[in-house]
Symmetry: C2
Subunit: 220 residues, 2 copies
Amino acid sequence: MVENLTEEILEMLGNESRRRILNLLSKKPCYVSEISYSLKMAPKVVLDHLDKLEKLGIVSSYEEGRRRYYSINRNLRVEISITPHRFIASTVSETPELEIDEFIKNMENLLKTPAGSLREIYKALQEFEEVERQFSEILGAVSLKFNEMFERFLTEIEKEVEDELERLVLLGITKGADTPFKISEEYGISYMGVIKALKSLENRNIVEKLENEDVWRIKC
Amino acid sequence: MVENLTEEILEMLGNESRRRILNLLSKKPCYVSEISYSLKMAPKVVLDHLDKLEKLGIVSSYEEGRRRYYSINRNLRVEISITPHRFIASTVSETPELEIDEFIKNMENLLKTPAGSLREIYKALQEFEEVERQFSEILGAVSLKFNEMFERFLTEIEKEVEDELERLVLLGITKGADTPFKISEEYGISYMGVIKALKSLENRNIVEKLENEDVWRIKC
């Protein structure tokens, strides 16, 4: 499942020139002819890309002297997970929640965030990058584990459910298609076929329907 | 900084049709005419996209009956961070390291990974997704914190170093341009200008040169 902002960001990042512009701007704010010279792109092309980035809210500009400088003005994090049973792309932006703030505070203490000299901050920055790298690896491993568990889930479905269609419907529910309509659409099964399978699974206590809604879930 | 595999993946994900195909394949393995029907794309176009995905090693195919099925066959995680001072895109693939395995084991115990029934695994899967979401938020917050710290670093540079060029050179080193050549290239300063700034910073004990190499770093 990919949401809207993420769609736009992926579209934006799919273009090599825009990636190179972002790379440049992450080094320092730049003006158009500087980018144009550095990346060997026509100023008109650079401006077009900057416009797109500005509309997406990723880049902003300010005047200084007779020049208009562009810089990155957002904190965005895009996470994409591509595995046999999932394709997820999502964007995390600025506002972390309270719990996390506390977590970060602890981590900061752990890293002994410095009182202030240039060298101390530099060292802390490097430690931070290392922590970030580790987290990112952990997330990769969590994603892998999820996949292994999903494989086991599939094996269980094969054991407990014989009917091919019912298996597919169960799979659909697990992957987030929670209404008969969605299951029918996304898995190419006729609506009536989905209903029949759901009823049969419901009778065997494997799925249940939420009260007052046409939403189904695995009965836990 | 964006590496090669990541470049290719971003290029690939920049295309909406390919995102839709991946989304479909994450639901279940599909054959070409099924994808073509479901996404309303010409079979020829679908095949072209599948070819690209197969060459990148993300998708693989197998024959079953008279049909060739396509499915996602990799565990990839792409992390992108776009902030005022950093643009990083990187790919984490399959092999997590030992420490992390241990961490995951603990986490699994924490989540009380089930003995095996369909319902138990389902529940665990949902808990896993929640953990993953939290981690992802934490990473977002870490990234934000990094940025704040970087701002402080910049303030310190302004305090300790008066010369504009020297400031830029220091910034370059901090952002990973570690040789005079790279600094000169990436920040548009003449090579001789970089050398002069480095010498002056070295004399004031702010930077140092690695032995036997033309690599510079902040002196800690």
